[in-house]
């Protein structure tokens, strides 16, 4: 038992052909025609970092949308997550320090 688990165990109901941790969403082959969301977690200097990423992606012809969390100390509100989820195809979250 480690500090990050508390001893609760479930038995795997699957055929165990893949890893037990939550899988990541499938990745696209390219960003063409896709919108990338940039989520600022509101820690200092993160906005400058994201401004630069936005400029770089836009130069490459990739559509970008910007979002900001109200506070870095809590998960993003449900509304904001839903906005990102419906308006974007991928997301970059920055900058945890």
């Amino acid at each position: 038992m480690s500090a990050t688990s508390d001893g609760r165990v479930l038995l795997d109901p699957t055929g165990e052909l893949s890893a037990p941790t939550r899988e990541r969403a499938p990745r696209p082959a390219s960003l063409d025609g896709r919108t990338v969301g940039l989520l600022d977690i509101s820690k200092p200097r993160g906005n400058v970092f994201l401004d630069r990423l936005e400029a770089q992606l836009t130069d490459r012809g990739i559509a970008v949308r910007r979002f900001t969390k109200p506070t870095f100390s809590k998960p993003a509100p449900v509304d904001l997550r839903q906005e990102i989820g419906t308006q974007c195809d991928l997301v970059i979250e920055a900058l945890a320090d």
Binding site: T21, A25, P28, V48, R52, G85, V91, I92, A94, D97
Partner: protein, 73 residues
């Protein structure tokens, strides 16, 4: 990290950017959530960087970020 994990579970590929100080904490958080989100680390420190220095960090991280967002061949 909760946000990225939550958005991934809704089908949105994501990557989180953190300072290199965060490597271990991020692993621990990932384990606590039972997930393994894509993470890219940039060199600490962050707080006292100039704007130009921040842009250099962003440029340096861009390729890695794109690699984590796209499928490998």
């Amino acid at each position: 990290m909760h946000d990225i994990v939550n958005l991934e579970s809704g089908g949105l590929p994501g990557v989180m950017i953190a300072s290199s100080e965060f490597v271990d904490a991020a692993s621990a958080q990932a384990a606590a959530l039972g997930a393994d989100p894509a993470r890219v680390f940039v060199a600490h420190p962050i707080q006292d960087r100039t704007d130009d220095e921040m842009r250099v960090l962003a440029d340096g991280a861009l390729d890695e970020i794109l690699r984590r967002l796209l499928s490998t061949s």
